[in-house]
């Protein structure tokens, strides 16, 4: 979304009266504005990240090193302050660099013996944060990967049979390098299912890149002065959007039909899960809210479906263009969705 869109969102949000939605949209707009000031030329990724954050999902970025993933994750984490929460163990942002020799306890935390109290105290691992950047997640062993993915799925970690809850806002941005695959442990499709979006990023355009070079100094000084939102505000926005953005029956019909079409397609070995559709619904709601709508529309599906399903379906040998497969299978249900609006 460009900066005009933010203004538009604000304008529209004021138009919507008698609901909590405007407040939620304010939160989203602030988040978006704050992150955008620090990450240039990645507006679409920022939007998807915020959608995933509000929709309680996680994001897998496939990108080259040095393309601003960390900056994005850090900016997002720092834009959310703890506010009234007094849990000292939760920090806004943590980064984990995954390596082959990493152990699960390095991620989750470990009980250490405190000689003063003569007892074990759990030392929180980097997962106890609002936003966690899991860098090069495919470089670590499956053991660590599964610990990580359990945390992502259950929002809890279990160490020595003691379960520690993670923050409600727990949001993971994982990355993997699409090219340098030597010595990696690629995530299998079921594990990829844990990620709401898999976003493949291209290099940013020329003007944005110039912009990055021009403003890197000012942006470095900027951190700390930017507007922030509290964790509670984000959680409330999540709830508000879930309550107030409507998902029409024809939208759900379209989603189910697309899934069924995909499963019937010869080019698809394994279609998407029902869970993926369940996960998609809140994302659609956020996307609609970001566009100032209180209803989910075809536009949201067109934007999000490729990101959500792209890594969830397995293509038959010889088929490579997942985008085309998706578009082919979307066309008919989307047409039905469009037609449905003219009938009662």
């Amino acid at each position: 979304m460009s900066s005009d869109n933010v203004a538009e969102v604000e304008e529209l949000s004021t138009a919507m009266s008698s609901s909590e939605l405007p407040k939620a949209l304010d939160v989203l707009a602030t988040l978006q504005a704050t992150v955008k000031k620090q990450v240039l030329g990645r507006d679409d990724v920022i939007e998807l990240a915020i959608i995933a954050l509000i929709a309680d999902g996680h994001v897998l970025l496939e990108d080259f090193p040095g393309s601003g993933k960390t900056t994005l994750a850090k900016a997002l984490g720092e834009a959310i302050i703890n506010g009234s929460s007094n849990d000292e163990s939760i920090v806004p942002f943590r980064r984990i660099q995954f390596t082959p020799d990493l152990l699960p306890s390095d991620v989750t935390g470990v009980p250490v013996f405190d000689s003063n109290s003569n007892a074990f105290h759990f030392r929180h691992g980097p997962l106890f944060a609002h936003v966690v950047l899991a860098d090069e997640i495919n470089r670590t062993s499956p053991k660590v990967q599964s610990a990580m993915l359990e945390a992502m799925g259950e929002k809890q970690v279990t160490v020595d049979n003691v379960t520690y809850a993670l923050d409600d806002l727990f949001f993971v941005i994982a990355t993997q390098n699409p090219l340098d695959l030597v010595g990696t442990y690629p995530l299998p499709t079921p594990q990829l299912d844990r990620f709401l979006f898999k976003i493949t990023m291209d290099h940013i355009d020329r003007d944005s890149e110039l912009d990055v070079l021009d403003t890197y100094k000012t942006r470095r000084d900027l951190s700390g002065q930017l507007e922030t939102v509290t964790r509670d505000q984000v959680l409330r926005a999540r709830k508000t959007i879930d309550n107030e953005v409507a998902i029409g029956a024809s939208v759900k019909t379209a989603l189910v039909d697309i899934s069924r079409n995909l499963r019937d397609d010869d080019r698809v070995l394994q279609g998407n899960s029902t869970r993926s559709m369940v996960l998609l619904l809140p994302a659609l709601q956020v996307s609609a809210a970001l566009r100032g709508r209180d209803f989910v529309s075809a536009e949201d599906i067109e934007l999000l479906l490729p990101r959500v399903l792209g890594h969830r379906i397995e293509l038959a040998p010889g088929v490579s263009d997942v985008e085309k497969v998706l578009l082919d299978n979307m066309r008919e249900p989307m047409e039905q969705l469009a037609r449905s609006t003219l009938s009662k």
Partner: protein, 714 residues
């Protein structure tokens, strides 16, 4: 409509196949119009253009040119080719350098190469760039074959000549070549259609082909199919048989016809009034030889002669200019005549006084049908005794014409000799004289179709003063000359003479080829032309025919247009539903579809005005979309409403807020009902305004006229 359609013909094989097909149609088309070199040039020019367009149109520099530019360039190239061709043919340069033949071939080559290359270039470019372009191409190929074979009509398998001559000189049946051509055309067209793997275009093609077939059907319904000619010569002449062979230069050469088909029916006569001739034969006069042209008798060229004959068919009634006399001794007989083969003149029972064209009850069978009114004689020959000859209102000149004979004294000498023995009271009686001459011929003449007189300067003299062997022409000419030599005005009547027995009690009479006849006639004062027909007692020809009573009856019924015949025809019809009924139902359905479509169109535009507020978002939006569809703006398949709105927002900006409101109410929670009534009205007004201000007027008119525009609204 310059939609650039993605065309999948970058492959060599389809390109070659298509090039070959179009090139063959050029070859076929050029065959009849140019020499071999021209045809080869047309073929190669077409191939050249096909490959050029198919392989280069998507590359520089052709892809930068507009379609109109390419068409213009092709046309100029053609003009240039014609210019060069004219230069080669019309000036001495090429002829002087080589030879005139080479110059001519060079000219044809250039002309046809230019023609086929430029046409193909235009056609292929259109097919690539326009959605309906390939239709033109298919039409071209189809018409090339049609034009070539158009000469082959009415079952004339010898045409076009370049095919017929080629085949016939090699002893091949031309029809197999023609059929091969037809099969080639069908295969080519199907190949062209099958190569079109762009599914968007197939409906166009099939619509065009369907329209072609339908218009063919309509054409046949309206104008009928050409009547197949029933001839026994394989249709090689393209003409029907001569029914009456009296139209030849030399009537005496008729005998050379080996009358294989002497029983062939030429006409059927239905008697509407009862009449029985006294002399045993029905005479039907078609025309007469009366004017001596220096060698023999011929058709009268003078207007004041033979005015009793009715020379031409007219579409209404034609009356004889000169009526016979002695009406008390004649009976008015109406006959209906159906000609089975074409005749130059109508004929009628002697003496015909009027012909009236009648509706043809079966144009597959009858060439022409008409009613003839005749004053048929009921007097016997005694009535003629003592009568004077000639007619009062004949000028001296006309009388002389009827008395002219070859400058041969033997006629008069023989005639004088024959009337010597007449009893004194009849010595000066014209009828008695004529009868004496007839009797002489009856007794001494030998009827034969084989004779040696045809090439004599005067065949009648050769017959009369020779072996007296001949057929009706010889008898009638000899008799007429002798009548004339005695001062009796006479002529040779031509037509048919059918034995009265052939009627076999029915009212129909079949006239067959063998009944073609010529006879001498004498003009008696106040009576008219009287037939005095010699009937040779010796005959070498079997003049009898097998009775064809069934055919006679059937044709008679057909001509009478009897209900029984209609019943017979109907009983023959296998299909229960008439084609006409089917067509009428089709027309009615088409009309009904149009009316219903218009009604729906109007209803959908009108209903928002009276519907409730809560359905406004749906009906009002639909009406707005209908308006947009009418001017060609409609959502594509699979396109979302937002995308469509964004796509046309440049011209119709109001559609975006309208779409948003529509979707909010259609997809969102409809609890919070915004006060839409005024808002809708405003949006609707602005959309109408935007449409009318951005659309060209012909588009608007088309939008109003098109009854199916609302079908595009989805």
């Amino acid at each position: 409509m310059t939609v650039r359609v993605e065309h999948s013909s970058h492959h060599f094989l389809p390109t070659s196949l298509r090039a070959t097909i179009i090139a063959s149609s050029f070859w076929v088309l050029s065959l009849s119009m140019t020499v071999i070199s021209g045809s080869i040039a047309a073929f190669t020019g077409c191939l050249f253009s096909c490959y050029l367009v198919d392989l280069q149109l998507h590359k520089q520099p052709l892809n930068t040119l507009r379609t109109s530019t390419i068409l213009g360039l092709s046309f100029s190239a053609w003009l240039l080719a014609i210019l060069f061709a004219n230069f080669a043919v019309n000036t001495d340069t090429a002829a002087g350098l080589f030879s005139p033949i080479v110059a001519f071939n060079l000219g044809e080559t250039m002309k046809w190469f230019g023609l086929s290359a430029s046409i193909t270039f235009s056609l292929r470019t259109l097919a690539h760039r326009l959605s309906f372009g390939a239709v033109i191409e298919i039409l071209f190929v189809a018409s090339a074959f049609v034009i070539t074979l158009a000469a082959h009509r009415n079952g004339m398998i010898h045409r076009p000549f370049f095919i017929g001559d080629f085949a016939l000189t090699r002893g091949i049946d031309p029809s197999s070549i023609l059929m091969a051509f037809g099969c080639g055309a069908v295969l080519s067209l199907s190949a062209l259609l099958m190569m079109e793997n762009n599914q968007k275009r197939l409906p166009y093609h099939f619509t065009v082909l369907g329209l072609l077939c339908f218009s063919l059907l309509i054409y046949v319904r309206m104008f009928g199919l050409p009547t197949p000619q029933m001839t026994d010569n394989m249709g090689l002449t393209g003409q029907a048989q001569n029914g009456n062979s009296g139209q030849r230069d030399n009537p005496f050469r008729d005998g050379e016809n080996d009358n294989n088909d002497k029983e062939a029916p030429v006409a059927v006569v239905v008697f509407r009034d009862d009449y029985e001739p006294l002399n045993g034969s029905y005479y039907f006069r078609e025309s007469a030889y009366s004017e001596f042209n220096g060698a023999m008798l011929d058709y009268a060229t003078r207007d004041d002669m033979d005015r009793d004959l009715i020379e031409h068919f007219t579409n209404s009634r034609s009356d004889s200019e000169q009526l016979p006399g002695a009406n008390a001794e004649r009976k008015l007989v109406r006959t209906s005549i159906g000609m089975l083969v074409p005749h130059r003149n109508p004929f009628g029972l002697v003496s015909p006084i009027a012909y009236e064209n009648t509706a043809n009850p079966n144009n597959l069978r009858f060439k022409r049908t008409y009613d003839a009114y005749s004053m048929a004689p009921e007097y016997d020959f005694e009535y003629l005794i003592g009568r004077d000859t000639g007619r009062d209102d004949w000028s001296e000149d006309v009388l002389q014409q009827y008395l002219t004979l070859p400058d041969d004294p033997r006629y008069r000498a023989l005639a004088e000799e024959l009337i010597q023995d007449l009893r004194p009271e009849y010595a000066n009686d014209p009828f008695a004289k004529a009868w004496a001459i007839k009797t002489y011929l009856d007794e001494n003449g030998i009827y034969s179709l084989k004779n040696d007189h045809a090439y004599e300067p005067d065949p009648a003299a050769s017959f009369l003063f020779g072996d007296l062997t001949g057929y009706c022409m010889h008898f009638s000419f000899a008799a007429t000359y002798m009548f004339r030599s005695l001062g009796i005005p006479a002529r040779v009547g031509i037509g048919y003479s059918v034995p009265a027995a052939n009627r076999a009690g029915g009212s129909a009479l079949l006239v067959q080829a063998i009944h073609g006849h010529a006879w001498p006639e004498v003009y008696f004062k106040d009576i008219g032309w009287v037939i005095i027909d010699p009937a040779p007692q010796q005959t070498l020809v079997d003049m009898t025919t097998d009775p064809q009573n069934d055919l006679q009856q059937l044709l008679g019924d057909m001509l009478r247009n009897d209900a029984s015949f209609e019943d017979f025809l109907e009983s023959q019809q296998t299909s229960i539903i008439q084609l006409r009924t089917i067509l009428n139902i089709l027309y009615a359905l088409a009309g009904l579809t149009l009316i219903v479509a218009y009604l729906i169109k109007v209803y959908r535009l009108w209903i928002p005005a009276v519907s409730a507020n809560e359905s406004q978002y749906r009906l009002g939006y639909r009406a707005a979309l209908d308006r947009l569809s009418a001017v060609g703006l409609h959502r594509n398949f699979g396109e979302s409403r937002e995308k469509f709105a964004a796509r046309i927002a440049a011209t119709i900006p109001s559609i975006q807020p309208m779409t948003r409101t529509h979707l909010a109410l259609a997809l969102g929670d409809s609890q919070h009902e915004p006060d839409t009534a005024s808002e809708w009205k405003e949006l609707d007004q602005s959309i109408r305004h935007e449409i009318s201000s951005t659309t060209v007027s012909w588009r608007k008119l088309l939008g109003i006229l098109n009854p199916f525009s609302w079908l595009l609204t989805k």
